[in-house]
């Protein structure tokens, strides 16, 4: 599709009449371009006192800037970095930050205001019309360039020596592969890492807040607790990566109120252990409403019904929160009865 298909008459008539021709056409065309209006003088152009006033204003602004810079340096030197000041409507703020910011702001703004005021009131304000020239080259120039190109192409013998051409293209096409190969060591292959967490049979559920193993009696109906697997310490090197998968949210619901049969089976006396990692994109989900048993994700508002197997009841998450099967060991502490039986966190292609 090219412009040639468009009939000329569909394009609007050229909008511009050359200025100057207008005076003649005035009678015939009331819409014609009257040309640039005559220049009008500003007060400063006529009244030297007004011009002097402008000059003083500009000079004053530049002086204010100098003073503000002195103020900036003085603030930097004298105000301690941790001193706080109360400023009405702003609250208790850092005195240094406020002083430095305001002095720097004034110093810069005054320079700008001075320059602009100078330009607006004292520099010539005659409007000038500059000619535009078409960007497209003239046909002669174009013909010359095409000739030169053809000449160059011919002299390169690229068209005739096919072997050179083809091998060159081959070489140029292949060499970027080295760069791609070099990216391989950016990271290991996924393997089954996304399917495994630190939880395994017999691992105690440790309270996040107190670092103590939890007993069933610690978790009352309507309460919310968070647990990590025993042995995982926040000083460990891999803590972040492990907690990103293993974080657990514990709630207790009256067994009669638990609608999902498997969820009830995997709970211990109504204590349900769900993954704290949202199945949407992995935010820690823990906005638990104890009356409705809904858990809401603060990032994208996926809502899960913890009384019904943590099924999704609203929002963008695609599947229920994985549940960890828990029980009680001989000493009466809550323990995991295995790892999660499905990957925690966001879904991925191999999840199945």
């Amino acid at each position: 599709m090219s412009s040639q298909d468009i009939p000329e008459e569909n394009l609007p008539t050229a909008q511009d009449t050359a200025p100057g021709s207008v005076k003649l056409a005035d009678e015939k065309n009331p819409f014609a371009d009257p040309g640039l209006p005559p220049h009008e003088h500003r007060i400063q152009d006529l009244d030297e006192r007004a011009a002097k006033r402008s000059e003083r204003t500009v000079a004053l602004l530049f002086t204010v800037s100098m003073l503000a810079t002195v103020g900036f340096i003085a603030s930097y030197v004298t105000i301690p970095v941790d001193s706080s000041v109360y400023i009405f409507t702003l609250g208790h703020i850092s005195a240094l930050n406020f002083a430095l910011g305001m002095t720097l702001g004034v110093a810069l703004f005054a320079i700008g205001a001075g320059a602009v005021h100078w330009a607006r009131t004292l520099m010539s304000d005659h409007e000038i019309a500059d000619e535009r020239h078409p960007i497209e080259a003239s046909p002669e120039v174009k013909a010359k360039v095409m000739d030169d190109f053809r000449q160059g192409a011919k002299e390169s013998v690229l068209g005739r020596r096919k072997l050179i051409r083809n091998t060159m293209f081959g070489a140029l096409a292949l060499f970027p592969l080295s760069g791609v190969v070099l990216l391989r060591d950016l990271g290991p292959l996924p393997g089954t890492k996304l399917r495994e967490t630190l939880w395994s049979r017999g691992k105690l559920l440790v309270n996040m807040n107190t670092n103590e193993p939890l007993r069933p009696s610690d978790i009352i109906v309507g309460s919310l607790a968070f647990a990590k697997p025993e042995g995982l310490d926040e000083h460990d090197h891999g803590f972040m990566t492990e907690i990103a998968k293993a974080a657990l949210m514990l709630v207790r619901i009256q067994p009669d109120d638990i609608k999902d049969k498997q969820a009830l089976e995997w709970s211990h006396e109504g204590i349900l252990a769900y993954s704290k990692i949202c199945t949407h994109v992995g935010c820690p989900i823990s906005l638990y409403e104890q009356q409705t048993h809904h858990a809401l994700c603060p990032c994208h508002q996926s809502t899960f019904d913890l009384s019904d197997g943590a099924k999704v009841i609203f929002g963008p998450a695609g599947h229920a929160l994985p549940q960890l099967r828990i029980g009680v060991n001989d000493e009466g502490y809550l323990e995991a009865l295995g790892d999660f039986d499905e990957p925690v966190g966001p879904a991925f292609w191999e999840r199945g």
């Binding site: 065309n29 000038i128 990271g187 879904a347």
Partner: protein, 545 residues
Amino acid sequence: MSTATTPESRSRGKAPAGEKVADWADGRLGIYSLAKANMRKIFPDHWSFMLGEICLYSFIVIILTGVYLTLFFHPSMNEVEYHGSYVPMQGQLMSEAYKSTLDISFDVRGGLLIRQIHHWAALVFLAGMFVHMMRVFFTGAFRKPREINWLFGFLLFVLGMFTGFTGYSLPDDLLSGTGIRFMEGAVLSVPIVGTYLSFFLFGGEFPGDDFIARFFSVHVLLLPGIMLGLVVAHLILVFYHKHTQFAGPGKTNKNVVGMPLMPVYMAKAGGFFFLVFGVLAAVSAIATINPIWNIGPYRPDMVSTGAQPDWYMGFSEGLIRVMPGWEINFWGHTLVLGVFSPLMIFPLVLVSIAVYPFIESWVTGDKREHHILDRPRNAPTRTAFGVAWITLYFVLLVGGGNDLWATHFHLSINAITWFVRIAFFVAPVVAFIVTKRICLGLQRRDREKVLHGRESGIIKRLPHGEFIEVHEPLSQEQLHTLTAHEQYKPLEIGPEVDENGVRRKVKMSEKVRAKLSKGYYGGESQIPKPTVEEYKEISSGHGHH
């Protein structure tokens, strides 16, 4: 030329020092030829032509402050214990990146100010680009010969978004970490290669030890480097094309009317840089931004409500939040449509505005250069499309902040989500129709004004008792300005059967184009501007009402 003048000036030996330096530079750089073309370059005056300057200067401010921040920031994820001067963090475990950001905020004098200027400037930079882009869009400044520069500008906007996002992630605070976690989830949702991409990006499982250092080099080197190149190219093209101007007396498609670069714009544009920097510094003194000390260090098992990205990513957040949770499982694989579809719609939203100029030029078939800007009302379909796009963008922003809308307007978050889901489809259509009508109404008013003059508000009683309002005729300047715009005729494909009864093959694309052309320029899409004959007929009679 220099051969003739140099011996002469040397023989005199009296050339001022500045001239000598200029001569020296010219001998090596050819600055005189460059200055000849550009020193008195004309720029038209209009406030909306300075929006791009706001972007340029905030970009420079970002680079200056950013360099300062790199002197103190440690892009490392090593876990350390905090023992700095901020009491509510004493003894907390955090990454070095977070700790060094706390140090910049509390121990480096002026560090907090520079950090805040950097971040505020980034928000203003993106907002400025958005408004600048809309100015260019609604005035039709993207038309030939400026399509490439439109694309450069668009690329700058997109790259700016990602540079901002990577910068937002660097302090490794709880909010930015949540954003990165979202990104990991989004990457994982990509079919087939998602998990591999994620593992390569994070150097293994999320969060790993690598991503801060990697994002750092992307944020300070790769993206700003590309952006700097694009900014230079953008500016060179602005100089080369010369600025557009609005229609008016003496302003034609073949000239540009305004003030010269030297001295007026040197002072105005140079001064404007200081004004922009000054305003940003003052804003940073007054208002805090991203107070990471309140947000806390990142831990993948912690989160806060109100987890949002910076505003320019807000529309993608909206897409993610309102998408239903579709997930398809088949043959042991999962297609995570709930995450992957927003990920695909996100670039589509952006690209739809970027390709618009090419669609319009295809429909009009107009290959001429355009240097006179359109008033938005005179291009109703374009204006309506632009407003529809902005409406969509805004609806998604509402979706991205749905939790705050809920708490501040006492609404249900679920209701807002449903509203956004419906408005995503309906609101742009409504906006399109309404805008087009408003444009046509304004065109009608312009036409009235040209033919009957301006309503003066003076009521006159005629001898026979009738009251009329006096209409003042417009000056020739005003008449010209109001009638200077071009009006296209809709494209006709012509009869499909020619005079010999032979069926002519009309290509599908040709039919689509004719349809679009009719939509753009048909009788219902523009009010014919008054002709000279109409004007004369009315003004020669006495009926001024």
